[in-house]
Amino acid sequence: MTIATHAADAATDPVRDRARGGAPAGAGGSAPAPRRRRALQRREDAAGYLFLTPWLIGFFLLTAGPMLFSLYLAFTNYSIFGKTEFIGLDNFARMMDDEVWWGSVRITLLYVLVGTPIKLLAALAVAMLLNYRSKGTGFFRSAFYAPSLIGASVSIAIVWRAMFSTGGPVDSSLRIFGIDIGGWVGIPALILPMMILLAVWQFGAPMVIFLAGLKQVPAELYEAASVDGAGPLGKFRNVTLPMLSPVIFFNLLLEMIHAFQVFASAYIIGSGTGGPAGATNFYTVYLYTRAFTNTQMGYASAMAWVLLIAVGIIAVIMFRTSNSWVHYSGDKR
């Protein structure tokens, strides 16, 4: 189920083939066999790259090419208008002095590092609740999944904004408890909780993956734990968590990378201004503003590469530390 094992899987295929193709003739015994195998391999290569042509064009034209070009831009003062000059590390140096940039880093990191764990905890808790019974869960599973499909849309951002505005349902229900804060949208400190709630609301996608993982935990392990006198908490710590750790790893990695890129909700809730007081100025919103409102594309490219490197570092740290906390059971595929 993990990507890594599949990549490794696929990687062995051609190697095995080449070894087979290059080996001295076995069953055939005569000289023509390897030549025929080589011809066969060439035909496989031709077919492979033919089928892969659209993807390869897309990869070079829309992914690899732009990626390298944006690396180049990061060292220039490129803007749609005016002359482009190579300015070395100036963009990165300016970033360090850019308080707005630091603000966007702070708010994005808080969003990722606080929001993602809460979202995953909610996903795991509800998945375990659902897994508690085997029948009659279909409806709930679908209902809980629905927000994941629509949560990032402009419609939901608009609704979220309306729900948290003065006199909206959140405000009026808080007032029942004597808490009168009015609309959240105008208060910078409350934008982040509002955005995190929106993210947590979309817990359905990781929940479905957790649920699939929970279904694969062998029942014998729980029985064995019971025999050893483990209570529900002990079973959770010693059976569920280790067995589920590959799925937790997968969800954590994808959700974090996803969270770094939040855009539409922040843009709509802040009306594209990043306000109030920079509270909706998430990293991608600021990047967009720099690139397309101020047309400082060199600077924005440098920002994009900082994001890429940050995401890369997080991924590397996760893969490096995964040995100590991700438990792969014996079935090597």
Binding site: H6, G48, R133, F144, V154, S155, F260, Y267, W305
Partner: protein, 297 residues
């Protein structure tokens, strides 16, 4: 009373209490689930209810249901914004989403077949590259892509939004179909190979019919993601005639939200409606697709 009857009595009461406890946990479970569903679906219910509130009731009537329900909001939004009628935005969104589906189904299934079934040299390396693009933040690409399409004079057309779909740029879809093809038994295509079928015929006659379920989930995701996409249209489309719904919604929101909540919420409902219908019809397919492929939506 003999010892055995006492024993039997005891086991009887024990199983009885066990059954009772099981009933109680079931009841507690159902109550918890229903409560959770209510909380999670509340924003959607609120949205629908609010779209029938006259604008004057916003902030004033804090009850869930409107006091004087009206469909006026819906009539008002049919006019659209900036002189462009609402149906135009729907049409644009629909064209974009349908062409995305076509592009992704064709290009992703071709690439997926190559990765899953053709033993060409470099398969493993390219596959790893493809998976790598899955983790790549999209924002690194937007500036050069924008410059490219500007140079080609394609800004304010649908091409920049669709080209990537026809070139399998979104690795999610390729991966989803690769996973599905790998799950298929190989005997059919191996038999066809022995009979002298080339890869094209195996793909077209054997694999393609077998991967229909994966293509259906890919299509649904492709449609919904395109329908919801905001950043792409925001980057490339300038004239209101070309706006898909998310951009139109944003204009609505910026222009009227303070003065006309009702209308803004009504447009939001209309924009979500096709997706919610889609979801209700295909929910099994979607949720199962996500859990078996091990990828998120």
């Amino acid at each position: 009373m003999s010892a055995t009857t006492v024993d039997r009595d005891r086991t009887a009461t024990r199983t009885g209490s066990l059954r009772r406890r099981r009933t109680w946990t079931t009841v507690a479970w159902v109550v918890a689930m229903v409560a959770l569903t209510a909380v999670i679906l509340y924003p959607l219910a609120w949205m629908v209810s609010a779209s029938f509130k006259p604008t004057a009731e916003f902030g004033a009537n804090q009850a869930f249901l409107p006091e004087n329900p009206t469909i006026g909001n819906y009539f008002k939004v049919l006019e659209g914004v900036g002189g462009v009628p609402l149906w135009r935005f729907f049409l644009n969104s629909f064209i974009l989403a349908s062409l995305s589906v076509v592009g992704i189904v064709i290009s992703a299934s071709l690439a997926a077949y190559a990765f899953a079934r053709i033993r060409f040299r470099g398969n493993g390396a390219w596959f790893a590259v493809m998976i790598g693009t899955l983790l790549l933040p999209f924002h690194v690409l937007i500036i050069p892509q924008y410059m490219l399409f500007r140079r080609l004079d394609l800004v304010d057309t649908f091409v920049p939004l669709l080209l990537g779909k026809f070139l399998a740029v979104e690795a999610f879809f390729v991966f989803l179909i690769v996973q599905f093809i790998r799950g298929l038994p190989r005997d059919m295509d191996e038999a066809a190979r022995i009979d002298g079928c080339g890869h094209w015929r195996i793909f077209w006659l054997i694999i393609l019919p077998l991967i229909k379920p994966a293509l259906v989930s890919a299509s649904i995701f492709a449609f919904i993601w395109s329908w919801n996409d905001f950043l792409g249209p925001l980057l490339y489309l300038n004239s209101p005639d070309n706006y898909p719904l998310p951009l139109a919604l944003r204009v609505f929101n910026d222009q009227t939200s303070s003065s006309d909540y009702g209308a803004t919420v009504a447009v939001s409902v209309l924009a979500l409606l096709p997706i919610l219908l889609f979801f209700i019809i295909f929910q099994r397919f979607l949720v199962e697709g996500v859990s078996t492929q091990g990828l998120k939506g």
